[in-house]
């Protein structure tokens, strides 16, 4: 049976402590940890979503590594991203303002075809809600963003939002699109540094 596989670069954006890393952890490992220190050494996480027609979408997930905390996220981080999950915390209205800034930045700097999902996290804390569903939904509609509320703690809505993104991505290109191909060595247009010069080794006559 031949299944189609697609790979995409997904980045998380949003204010510090809204639950970006927790969402990734829930999505990738189905875990949650109340007292988790920032993830050290977790460079790259991947998770695969299988759609109804057996198409698989592999997300290459880039977490911020905390660089958003003091406005120090490098442009390299969201360059070539195929999709972005912009997260706010439904119990902090200021975090939605930060999310708006990120959306604006993506609209300015990222690939115009980027799929952006706005994600209201910590839905389990709705007793302390400061951002109404209506307000967020309205903003998302205006900007053409996908929108959902999630809880990394309970798992509510997490798989759903990633699956929805997978469905929205243009599943027409071959497995490695230019953006997502970064980080993997397959099918790149450029040169692969990991490749040793084999055919022409040290003892060959110089090739100058």
């Amino acid at each position: 049976m031949s299944t189609k596989q697609f790979q995409f670069k997904l980045v998380l954006l949003g204010e510090s402590a809204v639950g970006k890393s927790s969402l990734v952890l829930r999505f990738v490992k189905d875990q949650f940890d109340d007292y988790r220190e920032s993830t050290i050494g977790a460079a790259f996480l991947t998770q695969t979503v299988t759609l109804e027609d057996q198409t698989t979408v592999k997300f290459e997930i880039w977490d911020t590594a905390g660089q958003e905390r003091y406005k120090s996220l490098a442009p390299m981080y969201y360059r070539n991203a195929n999709c972005a999950v912009v997260v706010y915390d439904i119990t902090q209205s200021a975090s939605l303002d930060k999310a708006r800034n990120w959306v604006r930045e993506l609209q300015r700097q990222a690939d115009p075809s980027i799929v952006i999902a706005l994600c209201g996290n910590k839905a389990d804390l709705s007793a302390r809600r400061q951002v109404s569903e209506e307000e967020a939904k309205k903003y998302a509609d205006e900007e053409g963003l996908m929108w959902a509320e999630t809880s990394a703690k309970t798992g509510e809505g997490v798989t759903e939002i990633f699956t929805a993104i997978a469905k929205k991505l243009p599943l027409t290109a071959p497995a490695s699109r230019s953006g997502a191909a970064r980080g993997t060595t397959a099918a790149r247009s450029g040169v692969d540094l990991n490749k040793q010069s084999t055919a022409q080794g040290q003892n060959e006559p110089c090739n100058c």
Partner: protein, 448 residues
Amino acid sequence: MDEEYDVIVLGTGLTECILSGLLSKEGKKVLHMDRNDYYGGESASLNLTQLYRKFRPDQTPPSELGRDRDYAVDLVPKFIIASGELTQILVHTEVTRYLEFKQIAGSFVYRDGRISKVPSTEMEAVKSPLMGLFEKRRAKKFFEFLQNWKDDDPSTHQGINLDKDSMKTIYEKFGLEPGTQDFIGHAMALYLDDDYITKPARATYDRIILYTSSMARYGKSPYIYPLYGLGELPQSFARLSAIYGGTYMLDKQIDEIVTDADGKFVGARSGDETVKAKQVIGDPSYFGAGRTSAGKIRVVEEGKVVRAICVLKHPIPGTDDSDSCQIIVPQNQVNRRNDIYVAMVSSTHNVCAKDVYLAIVSTVVETDKPELEIKPGLDLLGPIYDKFVSISSQYTPTSDGKADNIFITRSYDATSHFETVVEDVQDVWKRVTGTDLVLSKKEVEVQE
């Protein structure tokens, strides 16, 4: 900010970011700050807005140059040698996963008023106008001698001792003409002046072998270049550092390097906050840049480099419409002490809009009219749409930092590659940690 760090790093140039990444990976608690709101310091790549803000604050970029976001204009012209030390570090730290590289299409050398391609295949070498027929034979013998050299096999030495005999002796042995010597010493061994000729030949031998093995690696030139500009390099190492727990703060003014009564480093002050750490590493601009810093001259100027960033609407004439190239103008060809050097990249490398070409002409300043000095390089470019000229001082630290825990890096020099940057990284690493920087040789996966 009342935590105490192991190391504070000031400035996010490539040197500082590599050090920061490696130190965090070693488990050190690192705080990395920069006064600018972008990464890269002197080795940044800027978009048009940032470029104009830096060079022409009172002007906005012309709209005909296209979209701001399409630009990543390097401030320092350097290419990565495919088999060089930086490549080793990129592979070792796996920051290659954040980057994509392309070859530089060609390397050219200026000779008698025109430029010729540095041959990259034997076929090109045979056809090259750089040498006459008999000289080509002599050159062939010379290259064969170098290629066949084995330290432990005296029969390959032809009476030469690489550690004692000078390059002059070897050039004479093979009867190579001055023009060929220029070509070998400057376009292949990449020396900026002729001081190497009278020194033992070993270093030159190593450089020629590095050049030829780099050339052999991908074919067109010995150089590779990261898509979206050189500024991607510091950003990648910063991410590495952050992943291993490094804390990043951009747009942070550093007002004072705080020292104790013995002059030892205590912390860095920004406004009325002082962050403490055991050690500080930083680029010269954070330590007085030639003026006193905390009552001491910490860095001195060794010389100046002039660089002209030129925006072109066409490829450089005589380069077969190459989308990227290096041109070396050997010093003897233009009666100078230092080579002039041109580095050109284009939209193929995602650093500018389509049909725009970015060339940087640079050299070590020798007179009080630096802009005039690069004229032979500028003249090779054809019509120049716009030009941004800068003169940067080359600072070097006055002490090794071991006494006061203040470790200062060097400015980016006039060389066309990153080998000296890596030397500086190794040097600072040793001063800071007391041990040599050892990169574990990793098994590299070869993909089909």
